[in-house]
């Protein structure tokens, strides 16, 4: 039974060539073409992936450089130097420190006006200030 079916499958010919051979060749060619197409597509995607990996590595390197730069810029000693030199600040004195609860007490105390030192007032500025309410 099986042998007969196989014979029927192998007997048909087209211009002297077995149809089953031609079919197998066609399937083979189709498979080769599809594999080629898939591989070509995959190759494109792989190169895109590699490019993305390279960009990620570059970005990570830049992030590391920025982290190092940030650590350098944020170092307390540098900030303190700049605060003193540029802004004229200094560490808070003990009597300038208070707790959150202490703030309420301070707000209840009457404000004591601080008189500006006379020598530090520029007469020209004082005059200009007087004309602008």
């Amino acid at each position: 039974m099986i042998v007969k079916a196989l014979r029927r499958l192998f007997q048909p010919r087209l211009k002297g060539l077995r149809v089953v051979d031609l079919s197998a060749f066609a399937i083979l060619a189709a498979m080769a073409m599809s594999v080629y197409a898939y591989k070509a597509h995959e190759s494109g995607e792989t190169s895109q992936l590699a490019e993305a990996d390279r960009q990620i590595a570059d970005q990570q390197r830049q992030i590391r450089v920025l982290q190092a730069e940030l650590a350098r810029l944020e170092q307390p000693a540098r900030l303190e130097r700049l605060s003193v030199r540029v802004l004229g600040l200094e560490p808070a004195k003990a009597d300038h420190e208070t707790t959150a609860q202490g703030l309420m007490e301070i707000s209840r105390q009457p404000a004591t006006p601080i008189a500006a030192p006379a020598a530090s007032v520029d007469p020209a500025q004082a005059q200009a200030g007087a004309t602008h309410p």
């Binding site: 390197r61 982290q67 190092a68 650590a71 350098r72 170092q75 000693a77 003990a94 009597d95």
Partner: protein, 595 residues
């Protein structure tokens, strides 16, 4: 077998069960053919069987090939990240601020065989590669192979050279250790070499941990607090300038450390003069030394804390036990032991501490005897190198024997030289409730407290805390200049004459060991600050003194004043307490009296 043949002897060939079954099956088929006796059918069936076998083999291959080509995952087989040799993990402080990290730099290479315009290379390359010398470039241009030109190019320098598009120029990545804080906490952080080996500080001490963590996203975390470090280092540098720390025209040293007494964490460590760990080769050799850990000194009266703690803990004395200090103490034929004259004749034990009486401390040591002194001093870690991860931790210089003269002098810190780090470890044990714990560079998990070894009772520790506070608040106490408003500071001074060519010279090693806050239960959070100044000079601010009360003590006070907010220590201002101006007036009056 040859005597140098290292291959193991071959095992005798054993036919496996499957293999035997297969051979048996083939023979069965063969015998079936022979039994049939039809030669034509025999050949055809044999060919058919071979065809089936080949078809099965090709079908398997085709299936596997198709599967591999169409459905294979691109990242299959990649299971772990490749970590470059010598790579090191980031070092961060207790709040995650970066202290050290690897940054990709580039090595510059040149292959002269690919170059046709040498002048272009000579003209364009050197301005963009500062480390490239003309001699090296000439040598590379004459060579008939790829030559290394310069290393350590930053990414910017790499991009600038790459954009020139010069033929024969190529790069290779090389990791490089960067210390963004520069000359800050450099003795604690340390540095490593270009091969990624730690050479000093935490970089050397934690070398294995740092290598093991490389490639993971987890940094190695230190106990260091950069904010506390900045304040300590700044005040140390100011003290070095203010008190002209020098000997024979050369800078000596100033050291400081801040420790959490319950965890043993080193929150800050400074050793002046400083250096930049990004270029350690350019620093003066003495500056590379971590004097806090690697140098030993006779530290003077700061040792009285240990002597008195021993006396109290062993039950030899109580806080009210009195000592006659009216006359110098003469032991044998040696030099008599004197006190700094404050007009004292009889002192209670706590006054021996606050008046820093050498005579009182020496008498207590003589009462204790050598075995008790050695037992307690050894328990306080004074006879060994401080047990920290820092490999620089120096061994002490100890006396050859503990005779009476040696005991008496050891009681106030003469005749034994230890590192300031070992002193800090000993103070930690006395003031944390009485347990000796190794100081550590690593951050201890929140809420954890190392077990430690009990060396004195909690009661003794509590009493010593009170003595420390009294030494700052007592008008005749030597540590009043360390008082920071509202921070309940306690402390002990130590002014030891510095040996010079076999004799005690004119310069001092001035130390101040401070603890704050001194109130609250013994288990309350507490911090130790130890300042050590090598050879401070007289200044108008110090009223002509070079003793620790006038230089190391105010330095410690200034440090505490600045770091308390970072450590969460609240000020408790007593309305009846002296203002800073009043305290200064009192100090000036005391100084005039002393003169």
């Amino acid at each position: 077998m040859s005597p140098i043949d290292f291959h193991p002897p071959r095992r005798p060939f054993r036919v496996s069960y499957v293999w035997r079954q297969l051979i048996q099956a083939i023979w069965n088929v063969e015998r079936a053919f022979e039994a049939s006796g039809r030669a034509a059918d025999d050949s055809r069936i044999r060919l058919f069987l071979v065809l089936v076998l080949f078809a099965a083999a090709f079908a398997t291959l085709a299936f596997r090939a198709t599967r591999a080509a169409l459905w294979a995952r691109p990242d299959a087989g990649v299971h772990e990240i490749q970590v470059p040799a010598g790579a090191r993990a980031d070092l961060v402080d207790r709040d995650g601020r970066i202290l050290a990290l690897d940054l990709t730099h580039y090595g510059l290479y040149l292959d002269a065989r690919e170059i046709w315009d040498y002048d272009e290379i000579r003209r364009k390359l050197p301005p963009l590669a500062p480390k490239l010398t003309p001699e090296r470039l000439d040598r590379a241009l004459k060579a008939n192979k790829r030559e290394y030109l310069a290393g350590g190019l930053t990414p910017e320098q790499h991009d600038a050279i790459h954009d020139l598009g010069l033929p024969g120029v190529s790069f290779e990545e090389e990791p490089r250790r960067i210390y963004p804080l520069g000359a800050e906490a450099e003795h604690l952080i340390g540095f490593s070499d270009s091969a990624g080996r730690g050479l000093a500080g935490a970089e050397k001490a934690l070398d294995n941990d740092i290598h093991a963590a490389a490639g993971s996203t987890q940094p190695v975390q230190l106990a260091l607090d950069v904010r506390v470090q900045a304040a300590l280092q700044d005040e140390i540098a100011k003290a070095a300038a203010k008190f002209h720390l020098q000997e024979n025209g050369k800078p000596t040293g100033a050291m400081g450390i801040v420790v959490n007494v319950h965890t043993g964490e080193i929150l800050a460590l400074s050793s002046w003069p400083d250096f930049d760990p990004n270029a350690p080769g350019e620093a003066d050799i003495p500056n590379l030394t971590n004097h806090e850990a690697a140098s030993v000194y006779e530290l003077g009266s700061v040792f009285k804390l240990f002597t008195l703690a021993m006396g109290l803990d062993a039950g030899l004395v109580t806080p009210d036990t009195t000592f006659d200090v009216s006359a110098p103490l003469q032991i044998g034929e040696g030099k008599p032991i004197h006190d700094f004259d404050k007009g004292d004749t009889r002192l209670a034990l706590w006054q021996v501490f606050t008046h820093s009486s050498n005579i009182g401390a020496a008498k207590l040591a003589l009462r204790a005897g050598p075995s008790l002194m050695e037992k307690y001093y050894r328990a306080f870690g004074l006879f060994n190198a401080a047990p920290t991860e820092l490999l620089e931790s120096a061994r002490p210089i100890l006396p050859r024997s503990l005779d009476e003269t040696t005991l008496a002098h050891m009681a106030f810190g003469q005749g034994v030289s230890i590192s300031p780090l070992a002193l800090a470890a000993g103070y930690t044990a006395v003031l944390n409730g009485g347990t000796y714990i190794p100081l550590t560079l690593k951050k201890v998990k929140q809420g954890d407290r190392p077990q430690g070894v009990r060396v004195i009772s909690e009661q003794t520790s509590s009493t010593m805390l009170q003595f420390m506070r009294l030494n700052v608040t007592d008008p005749k106490g030597s540590g009043h200049q360390a008082d920071a408003p509202g921070l309940r500071v306690g402390g002990k001074t130590g002014s030891a004459q510095k040996p010079d060519h076999g004799h005690y010279g004119l310069n001092n090693i001035s130390s101040f060991a401070a603890i704050f806050p001194t109130d609250g239960p013994i288990s309350a959070d507490r911090y130790l600050v130890v300042i050590t100044l090598d050879s401070p000079q007289k200044t108008p601010d110090s009223h002509g003194f070079i003793t620790a009360g006038w230089n190391a003590a105010p330095t410690a006070g200034a440090v505490i004043n600045r770091i308390a907010p970072f450590l969460g220590v609240q000020r408790v201002i007593d309305p009846g307490a002296l203002t800073a101006a009043q305290a200064k007036a009192k100090a000036d009056a005391l100084a005039e009296g002393a003169e």
